[in-house]
Symmetry: C2
Subunit: 328 residues, 2 copies
């Protein structure tokens, strides 16, 4: 295993300490239980957005804590759900009285622990479940569809609405609408290595790819021979668009997400391939995002996410955001 | 070779087309000869900053074209210098009459081709040579020291000065001052694979690292056994600080740059390790940057950059920037 690490058991704490210090103008990292909040308190009357999940997907979620997006994030160990007490501590820290929306990726551990935190939490709260991955129904750690990079879109848009003073029911409904309008699919060219395991999560041949991979290396639709980018992207967009039910002229957000080990140069080539296909379908690419936002450690691969947009979603997408990983 | 690519010979063009489209609000990609400019013309009286070099280091340089940073970038083939005519076309496109500053990383091909462009260019122009890499004197393609991630700092600070209306001599002097105040060193855990070559640039054992690696995989100071992160970072910071001659209390920018294949989680751990060492030396970390900004395709590894700051440089660092890869 080739990683920058001292003791594997200290990796998360040291990494979070570095993150907190590098972005001290934006975030605070709290220990015992571990949670990350904005550096400034939630304004009175603003709904607080909280997300979290296993680490190893950085910048998701802590990199999206800040003005216009999340109020807090709860990082678990690598690929391991954070505990209910982390989420409870985060809720108590950032709820300014307008309630809390938990944004939960659909994995059994996350769902269970967020549900426990929601039950234990004394304040008003709601939860939204993100399940944007069209690759497979049910998976290693998921009943139904997995939650993947589309989570970034949910957090951005719901975060913008909360920042503008929308109440809890409105922010929740909006987040649900983004989930319903968002589909993703990923592909892996290599495995990642979980530090505590010390070896690759799965074996894959030199000429193979895992089509529909999950962000923890869960199996996808099939193991296939590596193909030209246009062909790979064609298969992913067909799965996404086939599920989303878009009409000609519909405005969409096209989001090409790197899984960690793929160079930006290739991600832009993938974007180009996907954009040409969306053009052919008569869709209007209204907004774009390209980069490593929801990763799987050092996995080589990428995912595509398409969100059906409308004027309200576009306005909220464009609203200012000031986080470690997303800023405009 | 596992890459998202159609025909290898089309990789750069397709990637640039995707880049231009994804960021159409910020940049324009021009063909024949290939160069990237801002989407809007250089304001009258503003010095134009132009950089460029081989591709494969994305987001460097095209990702830094935009308000507050570069006016144009010239991408060569992967790890291959752009031609003089690319630079000449860029200069003619973005010079609004206040002259052009060429920012050149110290590689023989880049130096020669930028010199030719500068000689051929009819307008006022100056060049600054970035040679921040303390690892080695002379290298595979370099006489003297290589130019690496410190280039980002030069482009940000000189770009901010140009944006504020400083004249060519002032912007040039400021860029030279940043170069004189900046040192970097890198380490590789794996090689990268140049698409046209199809195989790794160098072989490296499962328990080895290349200390002082160049951003094209050039040899560094030594091949060594992989060590704990604190030890690796200790060696890099010792080399950097030993060369930079800082005094206690001096304000510095600490920049941890990923080479492409290393997860953000590890980069923040490296940041934490470096910050602790700078604390011990009594230095004041005034600003921080952590992420993949000057990469070597999918190489696993990172570099550290330290810049001695002062009030003027801090003000220019903090000035607004609006590019694909750096925005605040």
């Amino acid at each position: 295993m080739k990683k920058f690490v001292n003791r594997v058991e200290d990796l998360l704490a040291e990494s979070l300490r570095g993150f907190g210090r590098a972005h001290a103008d934006i975030v605070r990292v709290h220990d015992d239980p571990v949670h990350v909040t904005r550096a400034t308190p939630t304004p009175a009357g603003k709904v607080a957005l909280i997300s979290g999940g296993g680490s190893g997907h950085e910048p998701l979620h802590a990199g999206f804590v800040g003005r216009g997006m999340l109020d807090a994030a709860c990082p678990g160990a690598v690929f391991t759900s954070p505990t209910p007490d982390q989420k409870l501590a985060a809720a108590r820290a950032v709820d300014s009285g307008a309630g809390v929306l938990f944004v939960v990726k659909n994995y059994e551990g996350d769902v269970m622990n967020f549900e426990m935190a929601a039950e234990m939490y004394e304040g008003a709260n709601a939860s939204v479940l993100v399940n944007d991955d069209v690759a497979v129904e049910d998976s290693t750690w998921t009943t139904g569809r997995r939650g993947v990079a589309g989570t970034v879109v949910v957090e951005k848009i719901a975060g913008a609405a909360a920042e503008r003073g929308a109440d809890l029911a409105t922010v929740e409904a909006l987040a649900e609408r983004v989930v319903a309008s968002t589909r993703s699919m990923g592909v892996a060219l290599t495995s990642c290595t979980v530090p505590a395991a010390g070896e690759p999560t799965f074996a894959i041949g030199e000429d193979e790819m895992e089509m529909g991979v999950g962000i923890h290396g869960e199996p996808g639709r099939k193991r296939a021979k590596l193909a030209p980018a246009d062909e790979i992207v064609g298969e992913m967009t067909a799965a996404i668009l086939g599920d989303l039910g878009l009409g000609r002229g519909d405005p969409v957000l096209l989001f090409v997400n790197g899984l960690g080990g793929t160079p930006l140069m290739e991600l832009y080539l993938v974007y180009d391939a996907a954009a040409r296909i969306l053009d052919d379908r008569g869709l209007a690419i209204a907004r774009s995002l390209v980069g490593n936002y929801c990763t799987s450690l050092e996995m080589a691969g990428c995912s595509l996410t398409v969100t059906r947009m409308d004027d309200e979603l576009l306005t909220l997408w464009d609203a200012p955001v000031h986080t470690a990983a997303l800023r405009w």
